[in-house]
Each structure stands twice: as structure tokens, then as C-alpha cells.
């Protein structure tokens, strides 16, 4: 058995799963310190299940790292060093970032000569003197969180590693993120990803420690996994090093959970929370990925992210007096005190659906005197917000099933014009916790192949074999592994192609494979 937990901005959800079967589920408010909300959820699960059984694993999906970037808090000051001069003059690390987050990281940008060209030749000679001075400047500034990028490091990471070694010598406690470990080709986006990751590392250490402490309190000794943005899992040690890989894991989990709850592989999923509705698309049971470079808190990165549109409509969205405007302000997790049906004095989307008789939450008598016109206006506005955005996310004009999940699902109409059918599955309120609990193990491999010497098919097979090996070592069940991504990037060697092949496989956790069959 295993537990899945999803820490969202408003609610912390948890489920206890035995194979496919949901043994217990609960929804608690997310606390300001996050961890007491997680403990409250574990306590409720414990009570509902009549004591927690022996567990194989605990999976936690958390939006804390995304939120930290978006809200510019818990971010460490970072020394960002790019090895690539004399290219990129006038475009230092952090260029193009919103001013506030650039300032939150301290704006410590350094540029050094070095790196490689596409043809494998050095871009410039490394300057040991300049490297020493850079390290001394970092020491003088008192920085210990470091991001290093260099030109063409996905093909040759030696410059990043050499500088990291120098920094470790001078600052033994340094936490260093090397760009080739977090991103792919595209120097600026990879560098941005490395900088965000570096800024989150101290916070990640605190978060993992708190999670592990909470599990200990409940006597849980099962391994802890955290969800990544692609719907696969990483162990606790990995999260400390790569917190940025959790970005967007929340929407990924709710999409995967919706697929599990309905058995649908092609559908639109609308995850309605307290403040926003996240709309995504299931394709073959997995989230459709965004085609564009993805902004996280206004910073352009090249993480693979699910294609999600967030609409400012949730259960706590504030409704204007005439009902014509909904949100984007929300009472958030104060819904249970501030909404009219809970005795508060703020008209919210939840009050509207209760007044309309579409849902039974709180005290309906408290919304009995809302004028019919206001109710109708608000229902029309809410419908328009959802239908318009669903229409834009749909792959084509064909109606698709729409799955409503999340705690705020009650506010959505059941007859959306864009939908072939609308589903609100049982336990839809905890879809993202289910998504976390059913998350898979992934394995990635990157190889270089010369198609003049090795047939493309043979090279692809070699990469797949290697990725399968990684996934098995990470705890994946060999027979369940399947290839989900193949990416070929030419790393040209003058006229003839050296190609970088990146393959990703996913499969079930071996320990749980029997359970899920």
C-alpha cells in the first residue's frame, strides 16, 4: 500500500491506496508552514483507515517550489556564472528576468571566457586567473549557492565541472547546480533553469527534512518520493539537488489522477481549486506538453512542462455585486470563514452555486436572499470563463470528454458546450493526490551517435536500453517500462552529423508493480 499527498496552495490532499483501490482519502487546509497541513492529512488518513498499515512508499506532490519562485520567497542569493565569453557580451546571466526576481537572487552575475563551439573546438581559452578572481568574488560576497553554465555543456560539460571543483575547494559547503544537469540545448533557458534550481536548494533541504520528520512522527518508515513535472518520481536525496524539477508537478498529478479515476486517455481536465482552474489536456493518458518555452514566475526555462492554462476562477473567487465579474481575487483557504454560506461576508463563487441549488455546502439559508439576476449573471460569467478556455485548449473542434476534479469542481456547470460528456468521478476532489500515488519511475539516457558509423535505429535502441537500465536502477519494473520520448539533436561536427539522442522511459515502481496489475 502507499500514500499519495498533494500539497496545493489552498488544500493538502491525501489518499491511501491499495493497488487500484482507494482505502481512505482526505482533504485538509494547507497550513502556512505546509508541514502541519501534511501532518493533519496523515492524521485524518490514519483515523479513517483505522491505523496506517505497513507502507511501500509515500509519494508527495508539492507546489511549494513553484510558489516560492512565483512569490519570490525562500529564494537563496545565487552566484550565476556563465562560461562563454567573448560570446554573449551585454547579455549577462539573469538577462530578461523580471526585476523583482533578479533582485531576489541578488543579481550576482559573472561571465568567464571558455566553453565550446558546435564543432567541438573551444569557444575561447579558459582564463585561470579570471576563474580565481571570480571564485574570490563569490567568497567575498559570502555566497554559497552557485549556478554554472557553459556554452555547449550538454555536449561537453568539462568547463562547468572544472569551475565547480575550484569553487568547492574554496567553499566546501557550496551547493552547486551545473546547467547540463537540469536542462537541454539552449544556453539561456538552461542557465535560467540552473539559477532557479540553485536558488531553491536551501529551501529544498528544509522541505525534505520537514516531510521526513512528519513521516517519522507517524512511524512511517517507507521511502519518500516527490513528484517531478513529467509525472515521474524522485527520491528525497534527488529533490535536495534538483528541486526545480518539481515545477508544475501539481497539474501533472491532477491530470494523471483524472485519467486513473475515469479510465479516459483523451480528455480535457479542469482542476478547480480555491483560486484558479487549471485546464490541461490528456493525450494517451499523459498530459500534453507545452510547445513553447515555459515561463516560471516570468523566467524563461526549457523544462518540459504540461500545457496548462490557469484561469482565475475557483471556489473562493470573489464575485462582484452585480454578479458579472468573477475573481481574480479569491478568499483562498479562508473560504470556510469568509464565504457567505460559512457565515462570512464575502460573496464567492461557492455561494453562487449554493444559492442556485447546484451544490449543498455550508448554510444555504445565508444565501437565500441573493437576487436571481445576480446568480444568473455570475453563473453565466463562470460558464463563459471555463468554456472559452476549454475551447482554446481543445486540440480541434471535436467535443471531448471533460473531467472536473479538485475541491472547487462543484462550481462548474455539468453541461459545458465544448464537452462531449462531463465527468465528476468519485474522489475527484483528491485526484492530484491519486496522481502522485500512482506516479511512475522514469529513466532518461543521453547518448551521442554518429550515423555514418551506426544506423539510426541501432543508436536509438542503444539509448533506449540505457534509459531502461536507469529506470530499473531507480526502482522501475522492467516489464512495465515504455518509451515516452525520443529527441534527436544534431551536434554538428562541421559537415557531418554527430547526433545527441535523448530517450525517456517510464514504468511502475517494481515494489508496487504487482499491486497495480
Amino acid at each position: 500500500m502507499r500514500i499519495g499527498v498533494d500539497v496545493g496552495g489552498t488544500h493538502t490532499d491525501a489518499v491511501l491506496l491499495d493497488g487500484e483501490a482507494i482505502m481512505a482519502a482526505c482533504k485538509e487546509l494547507t497550513s502556512a508552514d505546509v508541514i502541519s497541513g501534511v501532518k493533519a492529512a496523515l492524521k485524518t488518513l490514519d483515523e479513517k483507515a483505522g491505523g496506517l498499515p505497513d507502507l511501500d512508499a509515500v509519494m508527495i506532490g508539492t507546489s511549494q517550489f513553484t510558489n516560492a519562485v512565483v512569490e519570490r520567497r525562500e529564494l537563496a542569493k545565487v552566484a550565476a556564472i556563465r562560461i562563454g565569453l567573448p560570446s554573449g557580451r551585454g547579455l549577462p546571466p539573469g538577462v530578461g528576468w523580471p526585476q523583482d526576481i533578479h533582485a531576489a537572487l541578488g543579481g550576482h552575475s559573472f561571465a568567464l571566457p571558455g566553453g565550446f563551439l558546435y564543432d567541438g573546438r573551444p569557444l575561447a581559452a579558459e582564463d585561470t586567473e579570471a576563474m580565481r578572481k571570480c571564485v574570490a568574488d563569490i567568497v567575498a560576497a559570502g555566497l554559497s549557492d552557485v549556478a554554472i553554465s557553459s556554452a555547449f555543456s550538454p555536449a561537453n560539460a568539462e568547463p562547468e565541472e572544472r569551475l565547480a571543483a575550484m569553487i568547492r575547494e574554496a567553499i566546501p559547503e557550496a551547493r552547486i547546480t551545473l546547467s547540463h544537469q537540469v536542462g537541454r540545448l539552449g544556453l539561456l533557458e538552461r542557465e535560467n533553469a540552473a539559477m532557479l534550481n540553485a536558488a531553491l536548494k536551501p529551501f529544498a533541504a528544509r522541505v525534505v527534512e520537514a516531510f521526513e520528520g512528519a513521516l517519522q512522527e507517524f512511524g512511517i518508515i517507507a521511502p519518500l518520493f516527490i513528484s517531478q513535472n513529467d509525472g515521474t518520481l524522485m527520491n528525497a536525496g534527488f529533490v535536495r539537488d534538483y528541486p526545480a524539477l518539481t515545477f508544475s508537478s501539481g497539474p501533472t498529478n491532477s491530470l494523471r489522477g483524472a485519467a486513473r479515476l475515469t479510465g479516459l486517455e483523451e480528455a480535457i481536465v479542469v482542476d478547480i481549486g480555491g483560486t484558479t482552474s487549471d485546464i490541461g489536456v490528456l493525450r494517451g493518458g499523459f498530459p500534453r506538453e507545452s510547445n513553447r518555452a515555459v515561463d516560471v514566475g516570468g523566467v524563461r526555462t526549457n523544462f518540459r512542462m504540461p500545457d496548462i492554462v490557469a484561469v482565475g476562477l475557483g471556489g473562493g473567487s470573489v464575485v462582484s455585486e452585480d454578479g458579472k465579474t468573477i475573481g481574480p481575487q479569491s478568499v483562498g483557504h479562508n473560504l470556510v470563514t469568509q464565504a457567505l454560506v460559512f457565515g462570512g461576508d464575502t460573496l464567492t463563487a461557492t455561494d453562487i452555486v449554493v444559492a442556485a441549488g447546484m451544490a449543498d455546502v455550508g448554510d444555504a439559508s445565508k444565501v437565500a436572499d441573493i437576487p436571481r439576476e445576480v446568480i444568473d449573471n455570475a453563473l453565466a460569467a463562470m460558464r463563459a470563463m471555463l468554456e472559452e478556455n476549454i475551447r482554446q485548449m481543445k486540440p480541434d473542434k471535436q467535443p471531448l470528454p471533460v473531467v472536473l476534479v479538485g475541491g472547487g469542481a462543484i462550481i462548474a456547470p455539468r453541461d459545458l458546450s465544448q464537452a462531449s460528456e462531463v465527468f465528476i468521478p468519485e474522489n475527484s476532489g483528491v485526484a492530484n493526490a491519486i496522481g502522485a500515488a500512482i506516479a511512475l519511475v522514469g529513466g532518461e539516457a543521453e547518448i551521442f551517435a554518429d550515423y555514418r558509423e551506426e544506423a539510426r535505429e541501432a543508436a536509438l535502441e542503444r539509448a533506449k536500453r540505457q534509459a531502461r537500465g536507469v529506470a530499473v536502477r531507480a526502482g522501475g519494473e522492467a516489464f512495465s517500462l515504455r518509451v515516452t520520448e525520443v529527441e534527436e539533436t544534431p551536434i554538428p561536427y562541421m559537415d557531418d552529423g554527430l547526433t545527441r539522442i535523448r530517450v525517456k522511459v517510464v514504468g511502475d515502481l517494481a515494489k508496487l508493480a504487482k499491486e497495480t496489475q
Binding site: 554573449g88 551585454g90 563551439l117 544556453l187 518555452a293 544534431p490 552529423g497
Partner: protein, 355 residues
Amino acid sequence: MTQITADRLDDIAAGAAFLATGGGGDPHLACLCAKEGLKTYGPATLIEPEDLADDAFIIAVGGVGAPTTSLELLPSVDEAARVVEAYGEIVGRRPDAIVSFEIGGANSLIPMVAAAALDIPLVNGDGMGRALPEATMMTYAIAGIAPTPAVGLDYAGNTQRFDAADVQAYEPMIREFAMTRGGMAVSAEFGMSGAELRACIVPKTVSLSAKLGRYLRTGEGNAAEREGDLRALFEGSIYGKLELLSSGLVVDYTSKVVGGYDVGQAVIESASPGSPPLNVAVKNEYLGITQGDTLIACLPDLITIVDYETGWPINAERLRFGQRVGIFRIGSPAHYTSPEGLASLSGLIASVKAA
């Protein structure tokens, strides 16, 4: 005469990406670089071709090379101005105005930084009306203007002067310069008079890019839903027409650098059931599309592949397995439907037909 400020660059870059027909490099990088440039140097002045005196001296400025390499070899803010200055020193003549090689992609923005830094006006128009892989295909070359003397500048600031008998001789020289210096370089070439430029420029493409980009960034809907608005926009321009040719899923994309170009082939599974897959020939840009044995689109028409859901253009180097895309065909400016224009593209057209 208009001032181009840093806050207009996102629009111009988006429009230029649409006109780049898959090539032209990553517009984001060029845009970032141009923004930093215009913030540092102040706005660039845009003038119309008819504002130029007949004997004014104009040079074309831009980047040359394999766009994939610029994902890692970053541009520098000062390089466009430095190549114009180097041209002035080496050739001995400072230009009265600057014009773009090609509106498609990064080359729409690079000359703007030089214009802003050196306070030399930029002409509203370009030498391709899109992106194309070779200097021989610029309308300036088609009109018989000599490309040299020309000056190339690499990422490290090294310069080289070129003198060639004609554009066919010049093209491999500048290409080799770029390829041996990291894959991307900037150059200043095609010194010409105001009268000569007016006769061959593809006019008003900078302002069209701004308008097109504004629509792409603020309009809503998928490729099919945007077709009507886009058609109206192109019908009122030198391109004349636009249509959504097809849509589907990218099921394969392979490319490699051959002779300094990104050469590849994309296979798109058509959204219409039962219809055979579309094969897109790529040489830096989308050149042509065959379906079975039938050539359904080809140069000199422009082929633009977009993200189906948003209508946003996708560069060839960003094509990926599993993307849902729409394919637009846009009419060619008359510059390339003339016998001389078609002749300049004959090699490319033949390569599409042979594939």
C-alpha cells in the same frame, strides 16, 4: 519616420518569426539582444524607402550561419554596430541608412541595434520578405547589386573583408567565415544607392511584422480560427494571400548540418483521416511539402508551420515529435515570381521536387 522603441520589439519579433517560414534563428534571443541594445542606445529610427535620396548610401546588415548553433553561441549586444563601424573603417564609407537582409526571424532585429547604436536610420523593408538560406537569394542580389566589398565579424570581434566577382562567389566565402567561427557571424554587405534599393526592396515588411506580431500576441484561437484574420492581414500586403493548408501531428523530424545549413525532413500525420502523411523539406527554412507523390506547396510561396492550438509559429529546429501543428501557405511577393526571382530559387525548388 517612426521611432522603434524596446517595447515594440516583442511584436516585431513575433511577426518576423511567422514570416521566417521555420528559419531565421531563435527570435527570442535576437529580441532579448535587441531590447538590451535599444535600452542601452535609445530607439531606432525607421524610414520609408521613398524617404531615401537617390544617391544615399545604404548597406545591408545581418547575421549569417546555422541557426541551431545560436542556441548555444549567444549573440552580443554590440556586434551589429561593430560590423557597420568595421565596414566604415575597412571600406571607407559610412552608410546613410541600414537595411535588413531578411525580415524572417533574427535578421529583422539585428540591424535595428546597429541603427540605434550608430544613430543611422533603418529602412522599412528587407531583401527577402521572409527567411531564405543564401545571400544569392536576396532581392538585392537578384537585382544585380554587388555584395562586396563586404565585412564579416565573428563572435570574438575578429573581422574580415571580402571581395568577390559576384554573389555566387561571395556566398561560400561568408558562409565559410561563419562556419569556421562558431557557426554564426554578422556581416555588412550590398552597398547600394537609394535609387537601387527602392527598385528591389521588399517594402513595408518591418511595419507588417509589427502589425502581424501584435495580432499573434493579442488575438485568440487556434490556427483554423485565426485563418480569417490572418488572411485579411496578408491580403492587404505585398504577399496578397494566405491559407491554412493542412493540420496534423509531427511524427518524425530529423535534421543535420550539411554545408552550413540545417537540412532535414519532418513527417506530419494529417488530421484528415485516410490522407497520407505530409513530408516537409527543410533547409534552414520550410521549403516545400509533398504528400504521396504530389507537391502540395513549394517555394516561392511561404510555408509557415504553427502550433495548432495557438497559431504561434514554430521554428524548424524546435519541431518535435507529438506536436500538433497547422501549416499555412502564404503568397510570394512578385520579386520571386519573376523569371530572375524564380531562377535564384531554382536549386532549392529542384531539391524539394527531387526529395
